[in-house]
């Protein structure tokens, strides 16, 4: 445990100096908001947990999110995990694309999400689908990493902004590209800045730089057993803070809602946005 905490602090200290973004404080739920075109966002999302009967773990994603156009965002994930008394391993990669079909803002804004992932022994828990639960995290790394999962994931993302509130809902379908059935899941979240208007003076800890909300997600079974039976669900408050000119730090303690879930998860994230990344590269090359 001490090792995990130490590594977490080192990762946070290393990345916090380079972060810049204004993001929703969500860890699993996607909002309909896209990356601005030409911008590259580098994000580190992490989760610490301890399954019943298993060892404590830190699951981690390093994400590179690029705004290809105003209506298309593409993202590459590199995943890894550390499990106490076991090992530290690279668990694979994911590549996702989000497309916004409607070119204007509406009451409800849909976004289509397509992801391919190639992972093994993944503990980042960026989504919960099917009958994912506590027992999936008990398998030792040396065994779990031999089970490579190649999966296609589809999401329908719905998002609304109303009087400063953001309300986002995700419906998830995931298919292992072998003979396993479709698995389903959901996620939703609500958040709001603590203050809606910006201050006239530059400030560091003013209320508009904080966003708070709640997030909930879980599995909905699979093609043969759709429903809530033997599925895990999580709920928790979530908060983030955007520093001037820079860092956005997010944190959320999340609680398993039934015996099938892990008791507690602690999520934290840091993100940094490089604006007009290719323009910068061109200028530096001249």
């Amino acid at each position: 445990m001490k090792r995990i905490v130490t590594i977490s602090i080192v990762v946070a200290a290393f990345t916090s100096g380079i972060a810049l973004a204004q993001e929703r404080p969500y860890f699993v739920t996607y909002s309909h908001e896209m990356e601005e075109p030409g911008n590259l966002e580098i994000e580190s999302f992490n989760v610490v947990g301890k399954p019943k009967g298993g060892n404590r773990f830190l699951g981690s994603n390093l994400e590179f999110e690029y705004g290809a156009t105003a209506w298309w965002t593409s993202e590459l994930y590199l995943d890894g995990q550390i499990t106490a008394d076991e090992s530290t391993i690279f668990t694979g990669f994911r590549w996702e694309n989000r497309i916004r079909p409607l070119m204007r803002e509406h009451w409800i804004n849909p976004v289509f999400y397509v992801e391919y992932e190639n992972t093994s022994a993944d503990k980042a828990l960026r989504e919960v689908v099917g009958h994912d639960g506590n027992d999936d995290l008990l398998e030792p790394n040396r065994d779990a990493r031999s089970d490579v999962e190649r999966e296609m994931e589809l999401k329908l993302i719905l998002g609304s902004n109303y009087h400063g509130w953001n309300i986002s809902e995700n419906f998830i379908g995931e298919k292992n590209l072998t003979a396993e059935p479709w698995e389903f899941g959901y996620a939703w979240a609500i958040s709001r800045p603590l203050k809606l208007a910006a201050s006239a003076h530059r400030c560091t800890f003013c209320a508009e730089r904080w966003q708070a909300g709640v997030e909930m997600y879980g599995g909905l079974g699979d093609w043969h057993s759709f429903g809530l039976n033997q599925t895990s669900h999580y709920f928790g408050p979530t908060v983030n803070w955007s520093a001037p000119g820079g860092t956005t730090i997010s944190f959320s303690p999340q609680f398993g809602l039934n015996d099938y879930s892990i008791g507690h998860l602690y999520r934290f994230g840091i993100s940094y946005e490089i604006e007009q990344v290719f323009g910068r590269l061109r200028r530096s090359g001249q």
Partner: protein
């Protein structure tokens, strides 16, 4: 035959000019009348201009330039279209909806008061 080719070329040229003209300011024609007529609740407030300037520097200046003068494909916001033709409501509508086919993203993720503060700053640039 030559005359026929000349007519086609002329027609094509006129269509191109029309398309370019529409692309430049077509978004203004798309603003619904109730949005066009919206009043900026921060109108005339110096604090709102300052706050809008901070928001502009944080979110807009990389594309539109530090002084909103425009950078390459990203247009200047000091033009007559922005300063005189467009109402405060028009600019607010553009910020909410973006002009995604032309590369301008929606800024609906910013709370409405911040969008109006941004409009206050943009409209102050002609003074």
């Amino acid at each position: 035959m030559k005359r026929r080719v000349l007519e086609i070329l002329t027609g094509f040229l006129m269509l191109s000019v029309f398309a370019l003209a529409m692309a430049d300011g077509a978004w203004l024609a798309n603003v619904p009348s109730n949005d066009h007529g919206k009043i900026n609740p921060y109108s005339g407030q110096a604090d709102a201009v300052e706050a809008g300037k901070n928001i502009f520097e944080e979110h807009c200046s990389k594309c539109h330039g530090v002084n909103a003068e425009g950078v390459k494909k990203h247009p200047s916001l000091r033009t007559a279209r922005v300063q005189q033709e467009a109402s405060a409501g028009d600019l607010h509508w553009l910020l909410v909806n973006g002009n995604m086919k032309k590369g301008m993203p929606s800024w609906a993720k910013l709370p409405d008061p911040q969008l109006w503060q941004l409009v206050s700053y943009l409209k102050s640039l002609h003074e």
